[in-house]
């Protein structure tokens, strides 16, 4: 037995010896190799440990060199050699553009017209510029939690125990028990396994998306998602397919075509995500959640849904679309919401399974690299959830007010109301032949419409109703939105006040538009 194996091994061993000697002679043919060999030999003789160390060091050096992100293009074919003198001349000649272009006349006007509120914000704030009390149809105070005494009391209590700042990111002693409490409260409220708290609403989803979606993954997203989602998608470097705004038929077509593509290319199974919003920030449309969930399950996608507007406003107690449609929140893989909008505090959250949440605790950039939110804002959020839970009538009021506003504005000449009937944000734009939001640039004059809308805003502020245009970064959004005025309904106003305010808006619209004609 023994001898037979050694016999079998013989040719192999001799082959090994032969190839080794071949390699050796080849190595010695390289100029300078003798020096290297001598060095290695002698150093090995002196200190065998050193050879290993050096070997490891060499491997690491090569690795880091290969990985280095700051590779210089010196060797590239586009590199031009210059003498030091020439470089000096080029440096002298170079004239950079200014760091920013100064504001245009319209931008300056836009900035100057931003309302500043004196004292607390709420249903009836005082404007700093005029000192007048106005009815607020602009600020996000959907459930009327702004200035709530219970919330204030809870915040004060927290202040006395925790101070204000957390002075550290969550990983390094910045996780305070009240953060864990709010995370648990949100998860329980929604009915998910867990949730994670970010310290700013806007930065939440733009950090959640790249935590999961990597290069090579597939994202299917609504064409009209909000800016934060666009930024998140951009940074994820995934392959994106867009479907028509709030059109689930278009979504299904896209899903089918993605599947076809994959079958054709026989690619590996990659992560696939559908990204959309519950209520769209840009126009107040609402997604048909049961159908969406059906599609996502059918095609095996994960769903990232932004409920920044719908959380705290929709459903019987403000749990959002999942409550409205009676869909278990666990069906939505990553449910992102805003504590700042819905709960009138600050920050955002992502709710989902424990795996989804724990993954973000290490990979959510704006979670890991930013200080956790002040304790008193977290407890204010918790208190707001308790209030929502215990007072379902608040959201009935909100719906009443939404209906009242829409009823008045629908009858107004010259504007078109957008969005879903139940949406707490109500956008309207100027009426033209084409009503779609994504009409091409050429069919309307963006800046002219903005100016008219701003006139309407100014006029209604002068008449005691605070309004705002929906502000967008022109040229930076993926598709340009039609300029709109965005009304945010609030449960803190009575039906009478709302009707009166809507009447003022209507009058302003009529006045400004008739002047234009």
């Amino acid at each position: 037995m023994d001898s037979s194996t050694s016999v079998a091994l013989e040719p192999l061993l001799s082959f090994l010896a032969f190839s080794l000697s071949q390699i050796e002679s080849g190595f010695y043919r390289i100029p300078g190799s003798a020096v290297v060999a001598r060095y290695v030999k002698s150093s090995h003789q002196n200190d065998p440990g050193r050879t290993i160390l050096e070997l490891i060091l060499v491997i690491f050096a090569i690795r880091t060199l290969l990985q280095s992100r700051t590779r210089t293009d010196r060797s590239g074919k586009h590199f031009i050699r210059f003498s030091e003198k020439e470089i000096d001349e080029l440096v002298d000649e170079w004239v950079p553009e200014p760091l920013v272009q100064p504001l245009s006349e319209w931008e300056q006007k836009d900035l100057n017209s931003v309302p500043v509120i004196a004292g607390p914000n709420g249903p009836k704030p005082k404007l700093l510029a005029t000192g007048k009390i106005v009815t607020n149809l602009a600020s996000f105070n959907f459930a009327g939690l702004a200035g709530n005494e219970k919330v204030k009391e809870r915040a004060l209590e927290t202040l006395q125990k925790y101070g204000l700042g957390s002075c550290g990111p969550p990983g390094f002693y910045g996780t305070i028990d009240v953060h864990l409490d709010l995370e648990r409260d949100i998860a329980e409220f929604l009915g998910t396994e867990a949730s994670i708290l970010y310290s700013q609403g806007f930065s939440t989803i733009s950090s959640v998306i790249p935590a999961f979606c990597k290069r090579g993954d597939i994202i299917v997203a609504d064409r009209s998602v909000n800016f934060a989602i666009q930024k998140g998608i951009l940074i994820s470097r995934s392959t994106v397919r867009w479907f028509d705004h709030n059109d689930l038929k278009s979504l299904e077509d896209t899903l089918i075509s993605v599947e076809k593509d994959r079958k054709k290319r026989k690619g590996p199974l990659t992560r696939r995500f559908i990204i959309t919003e519950g209520i769209f920030e840009r126009d107040g449309e609402m997604v048909d959640l049961p159908k969406l969930v059906e599609l996502k399950l059918k095609y095996k996608y994960r769903l990232i849904m932004d409920e920044s507007i719908s959380f705290g406003t929709m459903g019987r107690t403000g749990r959002g679309l999942t409550e409205l449609y009676n869909v278990p929140a666990s069906q939505i893989d990553m449910l992102v919401g805003s504590v700042a909008n819905g709960l009138c505090s600050a920050g955002g959250f992502c709710a989902g399974s424990a795996i989804v949440v724990d993954h973000q605790r290490i990979n959510g950039t704006s979670f890991v690299f930013s200080a956790s939110m002040p304790a008193l804002l977290a407890t204010s959020g918790s208190e707001a959830i308790t209030l929502l839970r215990n007072n379902p009538s608040v959201l009935l009021n909100l719906q009443d007010n939404i209906r009242a506003i829409r009823a008045v504005l629908e009858k107004t000449e010259g504007i078109t109301l957008l969005g879903h009937r139940a949406s707490p944000i109500i956008h309207f734009c100027l009426r033209t032949q084409q009503q779609s939001l994504s009409v091409t640039q050429s069919t309307y004059d963006h800046e002219a419409e903005e100016r008219i809308l701003q006139d309407i805003v100014d006029d209604s502020v002068a008449n005691g109703v605070l309004l705002t245009r929906a502000k967008h970064l022109r040229g930076q959004e993926m598709i340009e939105s039609r300029p709109t005025i965005r009304i945010a309904a609030s449960a803190a106003l009575t039906r009478k006040e709302v009707e009166k305010a809507a009447g003022v808006v209507k009058a302003s619209v009529t006045r400004i538009l008739s002047k234009r004609r």
């Binding site: 080029l90 550290g168 696939r272």
Partner: protein
């Protein structure tokens, strides 16, 4: 007059450090009670002095004053048999502190102060890296090798025998895994082993001490179980540089008032009716503080970088970024579509070389000149404790015409004789820098960030940055904390009608502060910039308390740096940096260090960082010194490091070594040497 304290001094023998738990309930009661009564009596005495002239205010009375808010001194401590709750040197009757010792330590010794200021007679310190002995490097690599091997082996067998643990890492049910086993390898196999050292939940104020919620794990850190008990530990980990993380005191009072007045939210984005008068006044104040024409604030420090950098640069521009810049800067640059090049950390030669290359080569392929070049650096680097070589960069800026963006997240408040950051430290006019960014999370004990610069720039950013239109505005309580802490650093300028004499009569001004207020300070806050309802305590309003804090921070930082060096540790960073990294190299020692510090009789919580936040070999412990620490606290940290470092074989530094007792004794000398 004998101090009431002297009659019943708390038993300060070192023995109580040793046996915390056995420290008898009774003796703790008497100590606490006697402390409180002492404080109370001293207060009464002080009140009677309140209206008298300054001459009767004892010279040693701390700049914190003795007036109305002295109820704050009464300790509302819930956890009492912990020696962290009482000052090492009991206060004399003359010394009354307005802070709670657990939040902000009592330290009346004026010798323990230092001024953070660049000495131009010496060259700017280069980022010197001390190398450990070979065997440390070798064992570090071997440790990682072993960890990797074991990890892969466990994965190999785990996938075959305990499938249920791996389902979420494998494709299942037609879904690709959220996180493949390969991507999460590091997290699962290396980080999880020391998860007990990260994300430790805490409660209360992240001040001088912090209360941690005790937890343990029975399943190798997969889940952590809370025991329900709490432990107060010395906190040398929070970014609480000036000690403004306080639940009591002038700033907290102001925040309280603002919550009553404004509630907790402004309900919207800055451009869409979420702007409050508080925003406007805070922005004006920040501009004044930084010494720039204008400033804007945003509700999150991370977002300040990630949402405003894209408004500065775009396609055709180049960003030159230090290789160790913070993640928020990287995200911002990626959002901007600008090209990025990196230079070696804080290496000005590398920067210049890169500048010459990029300007002469122009844009890749087309060779068109760059539209503009923005160099982004940090003032103080959060992992290294290195200070940017600002004088050199400003020189380069003149020559190469790039724009300069300095992220002062960690340096603002913490550096410079007036706490105005790196520009103050190097005495460089702030306006010679184009954009100064910083955060309020650190020195100010608040949240959010700012950008300061010329008005044209700031106005453009207000409108074109992402935050203005899309992100929630900063909330009133946070704004108030920012304003009150910042004003106290600046000091409120005496209003025009009140004369100098009123300042002298102020009971808070000790001799030290008088001398200071005579000094010309840059940008004191005009009273008109404060909200009318904000009544700051005199010691805060005249800036004396904050000056004390700035000096204490400088002393503590230098002391810890030099102390660790003298004990033989390898540290990084600038001697004035409040961030003091102590190199431990081996991954195994890192978690041991953290655990050993935490399980001492007086627990100390520390931050350990390793790959990927640092290069693979240079795992480290990162101390963040605060003005809230007393000299005795730093002694305690040094002593703990000395013991733990001896056991873990961490003392590989070169240079003269001192014993721990000598270090503690000669602290003042150490700080002023070099």
């Amino acid at each position: 007059m004998p101090s009431p304290m002297a009659l019943n001094p708390p038993s300060r023998s070192p023995s109580i450090f040793k046996k915390k738990k056995s420290f008898s309930q009774l003796s703790s009661m008497t100590t606490a009670a006697s402390y409180l009564s002492a404080v109370h009596q001293a207060d009464t005495r002080a009140r009677s002095h309140d209206n008298s002239s300054v001459s009767s205010t004892p010279a040693l009375s701390l700049s914190s004053s003795v007036t109305a808010s002295s109820e704050d001194t009464v300790l509302n401590e819930d956890d009492e048999n912990n020696c962290l709750a009482y000052p090492f040197t009991p206060p004399t009757s003359e010394q009354v502190f307005t802070t709670v010792h657990t939040e902000f330590g009592h330290c009346a010794n004026e010798a323990y102060r230092c001024v953070s200021k660049h000495d131009y007679s010496k060259p700017v310190q280069e980022h010197a890296i001390e190398e450990p002995p070979y065997y440390i490097l070798l064992t570090t690599y071997i440790s990682y090798l072993i960890l990797l091997c074991f990890g892969h082996m466990r994965d190999f067998f785990g996938k075959r025998f305990t499938k249920s643990y791996f389902t979420h890492l494998m494709p299942h049910n037609g879904y690709a895994p959220l996180n493949s086993d390969f991507d999460s390898f590091y997290t699962r196999r290396l980080k999880r082993r020391m998860d007990d050292c990260f994300s430790q939940p805490v409660t209360g104020v992240a001040g001088r001490t912090i209360v941690i919620l005790d937890r343990y794990s029975t399943d190798n850190n997969h889940t952590q179980i809370f025991t329900g008990s709490k432990t107060r530990a010395l906190n040398i980990s929070s970014y609480n540089y000036l000690g403004f993380a306080q639940a009591r005191g002038g700033c907290a009072d102001a925040v309280e008032e603002s919550i009553r007045r404004y509630g907790v939210s402004t309900c919207g984005t800055r451009l869409e009716s979420g702007s409050s008068e508080l925003h406007a006044s805070a922005e004006a104040l920040v501009a004044r503080f930084i010494g720039m024409e204008d400033a804007l604030i945003s509700s999150m420090g991370f977002a300040t970088n990630s949402t405003f950098i894209p408004a500065l640069v775009g396609k055709g521009s180049l960003v030159i970024s230090d290789e160790l810049n913070h993640a928020s800067i990287r995200v911002g640059v990626r959002h901007s579509h600008a090209q990025v090049r990196m230079f070696k950390h804080n290496d000005m030669a590398s920067l210049e070389c890169l500048l010459r290359e990029v300007i002469s080569q122009g844009q890749p392929k087309t060779h068109r000149p760059w539209k503009k070049i923005l160099v982004i650096v940090e003032g103080l680097y959060s992992m290294e404790g290195t200070l940017v070589n600002l004088p050199r960069i400003v020189e380069l800026k003149q020559k190469y015409k790039f724009f300069l963006f300095v992220d002062e997240a960690h340096s603002i408040g913490a550096l410079g004789p007036h706490g105005r950051g790196v520009t103050d430290y190097f005495n460089i006019p702030p306006r010679s820098i184009d954009v100064l960014m910083g955060t309020f999370t650190k020195s100010f004990g608040a949240a959010g960030g700012y950008i300061a610069g010329p008005k044209i720039l700031i106005d453009a950013l207000r409108l074109r940055g992402h935050s203005g239109s899309y992100a929630e505005a900063m909330t009133p309580p946070v704004l108030t904390q920012v304003v009150s802490s910042m004003v106290s650093i600046m000091g409120v300028a005496p209003s025009s009608q009140s004369t100098k004499s009123s300042l002298i009569l102020s009971p808070a001004s000790s001799i030290v502060t008088l001398k200071d207020s005579a000094e010309e300070l840059p940008g004191m806050a005009p009273p008109s910039m404060l909200p009318t309802w904000m009544n700051l305590h005199p010691a805060l309003a005249d800036g004396s308390e904050a000056r004390m804090r700035i000096r204490r921070l400088a002393f503590n930082s230098r002391y810890l740096h030099q102390g660790l060096k003298k004990l033989g540790f390898i540290t990084y960073g600038h001697p004035f940096s409040p961030i003091v990294p102590l190199l431990v190299f081996n991954p195994g020692k890192m978690s041991m260090f953290s655990r050993m510090m935490r399980s001492r009789s007086t627990p100390i919580v520390v931050v350990v960082v390793a790959y990927p936040a640092t290069p693979l070999v240079t795992s480290r412990v990162r101390f963040c010194v605060s003005a809230a620490h007393t000299k005795e606290d730093i002694d305690m940290v040094l002593r703990a490091c000395d013991e733990v470092g001896g056991i873990l074989d961490l003392k590989h530094g070169v240079g003269e070594r001192w014993g721990i007792d000598e270090v503690c004794k000669r602290a003042v000398e150490l700080v002023h040497s070099v």
